[in-house]
Amino acid sequence: MVAEPNGARADEAKKKRRVVLRDPEPLLNSDPSKSFNPRDGDAVVIDIGSSELRAGFSSADGPALRYPPLVSRARDPGEDGRRKNFVGYEALHTSVRSGVRSPFEANIPFNATLLERLLDGTIVALGLANEKKIDRPFVLTEPPCQMNNSRAFIMEVLFEGYQAPSVCLGVDGLFSYMYNMYSSTSTSSLSQFNDRNALIVSSSFRATHVLPLVNGRFHAACAKRINVGGDHATEALARRLRLLYPIFAPALSYDRVNLLREEICYFSSNYEEEVNRLQTDPDYFDQVETAIEIPSQEGTKTCPSPEELERQRKLRAEAGQRLHDMMAARRKAKATTEVAPKEVERKLTSEEVHRVESLLSELDELETISDMKTAYEDDYYMSLSRRGFKQTKDLEDAVGKKEAEIVSLKEELGEELMAQAEEKWRKRKFEDALLETPDPLLTADQLKEKRKVKSIRGAAEARERVKLQKEEERQKVEAAEAELRRQKEQDPDGYLRRRIKERDDLLQRIKKRKAAREAGSDRRSQAARNRMRLIAQQIMPENGKKMPDDFGMRDEDWNVYHDMQGGDTEEEEQEEKYLADLKAEIFELAPHIAALEEAESRGAEKLYYPIERSNELDICLDRIRSTEIIWQPSIVGLDQAGLGESIDLSVSSLQGATARESLVKEIFLTGGLMNTPGANARLQAEVRRVLPASFSPGVDLNIRLAKDPVLDAWRGAALLAKIGGQELSDSSVSRSEYEEMGPEYLKEHFASNVYYQTPQSDRERDNRKRRR
């Protein structure tokens, strides 16, 4: 039964990449299985990034602590309920999300208080809190072109809070470069970097930097920063997915999407071309498309044990049995109480009632005639001849016959029932007489009685009418159905054609109505104008004349509200339902046609509509779009030059063609976002594009990716500390230098920022003078 294209599709679906959306594993600030015993003289190395803080001792090969730079204050449940400060994952585990704060804004640690708490927590976690004085050199990272203020409060905390002997600060991307260079060469001195030229591209959590290294120094004047990073890529992806698949929005948390991005997103080496190819080449689309499985809510519940399941099953069975018994008892009781009186109270069928009543009324009529004999003789004879009786005896015979019939009927039905029927008939006859009598001839009581009878009769008649109408409608529907069935049997093809046409018409109608509604939202449209006219008419009729106030007397009057609203939701719902029925019927009649149509419309829709399935969603173009934002920040609405353009700006602002050339010859990639596949190829393409024409065409591009783009910055900082000696002390601010030069002071070295003094405004200078 499976048609050929379906088979092919199924094969493709099998091949399609599938990824399960999962939560990051719960992490601890430090691995408890690993103990870190710092050697004497080991430096404390901290890489403070906006995504993660990495801290450890310089002799280790990696940071001992890794956690997000988050701080919270919460009551510690373990102790006497005092409020304590938590950092990193501990903060996330102990506090509500809103109470957890980061000292960072963009890529700058700007909140002094939070930063101090973060550093304090780190020192405690490193096991240094019990030392009265931390007699170890510190090596820290900072963002490129760190603000002096921000640096000042870090220095204050280190020198005054921890009594640090010396502090060395360097840029994370440059440290990473240093580490990779150092480990790839055999010489053990840093002086080899003194005349190095390189372009370092560091794409981290909140920002992407282009950092030129000229003659072994950070050439900050030509540095560029693009204010997008991995955080923005994840956020962009998460927001888009939540919008395209609203039903999965609760499941698409930031942390999950972040993992997903790291897993499936890549840099396209030529974005324009790839986007075009995805649009035009369905095979390629299917190849790139990835299905994301959303974990079901049941999956997260803990699975009950087999004993527990057995117990629950027993409980359910018992409850079911109890209910069953109860119902049986109730049924039994009902049967015993109801059966006995039912036999006594046998009711007459409508046919029997009719028989009794017709007999009685005929007899009554004959008796009326015979009664007339004495009072109105002329009328009597006229009635006689009208009934076809020749003489009085005929009449008497007829009366006798009827009476005999009544007696036999009485025997047949039983005394009591007959009496009841007779009673009813008499009452009706009396009521009829009452209704026929004109009002003036009645007494007050009789009039009252008449009114009562009238209303009761009216209601009964109305009920009867409705019943008839319903019956008629039912018959009509049945007839229509029978007709359809007949058509279906006699001419199945024609029938199917008609049904398909009906469906198409209905679809058309629904579409038109939707279009009309859309037009209604535009004030100048014809539909909107009609609506306004109707409303105005209701308030003030045309010609300014007041309409006779009989609105609502006719049923059609109320249609005006329907017209005003521009549609009836109830009607629409019915139509939608009918459409669904039609579709189902067509599918039943001709599954092959329906399947083909479905497949065709899906084929077109697939590219354009987010198709929701019960537990998965598809990602295709977003695999390259979310990371594309560092090349084209305009995708997320940021008006800034992308990375390619920024590299061009950075390189071309450098003096000297040979310097520029040497810079482009060595490009180094680092930072978390550069872990994304395809970074190298894309950068090749971008640099080739922006390469100045004066460059020799055969320029060899040497683009290298850091061994570990995430941790190498910490390792570079640790390396400087490990080399120690003169190299370290030349790069560090000592205690006496801090006291002399102030907290903003920075010792420049090849991985450091450029130091400049914060200028003083005239007012500040005056204030200082006055204080002296």
């Binding site: 101090e116 919008l243 800034q640 353009e645």
Partner: protein, 136 residues
């Protein structure tokens, strides 16, 4: 006397008398963490909360010569290339813009989908590229 001056004065008094504002007492970090931060260096120094903008304001960047690299002048300038336009629904190249919703679209199908969206979701789509209607 401004608040700032008061704080500065206190700092000098708290210090060890050499005018650097340094305290001779060693701060016990664990106690600081446990005891709810009575002894914070930063608060002692009057470094109370400032937004990044305020922080940048006190850097006096405007008084520096323009060639000194600062946090703000390493910011990449606006792009000189015309921004590429992509379909707000599919991400494909968008040749059209809906005059009513300002959404960009690439095909009739995408247009139909975008037109079927209620207003708030239109704004959500626009906000992905920071083009939503902003009340001023």
């Amino acid at each position: 006397m401004s608040k700032d001056q008061v704080r500065r004065k206190r700092k000098v008094v708290d210090g060890n008398g050499d005018g650097t504002g340094l305290s001779n007492d060693v701060i016990d970090i664990q106690a600081k963490l446990d005891g709810g931060y009575v002894n914070e260096v930063t608060s002692k120094k009057g470094r109370n909360y400032k937004s990044l903008k305020q922080l940048a304001g006190s850097e006096n960047f405007e008084l520096l010569p323009p060639d000194v690299p600062t946090y703000y002048n390493i910011d990449s300038p606006p792009s000189t290339l015309p921004p590429k336009k992509y379909c707000d629904l599919t991400g494909f190249k968008a040749n059209y813009t809906d005059p009513k919703t300002r959404l960009r679209f690439c095909s009739p199908e995408a247009f139909r989908f975008l037109r079927s969206l209620p207003e708030h979701r239109v704004q959500d789509f626009l906000s992905l590229r920071q083009a939503e209607a902003r009340l001023k």
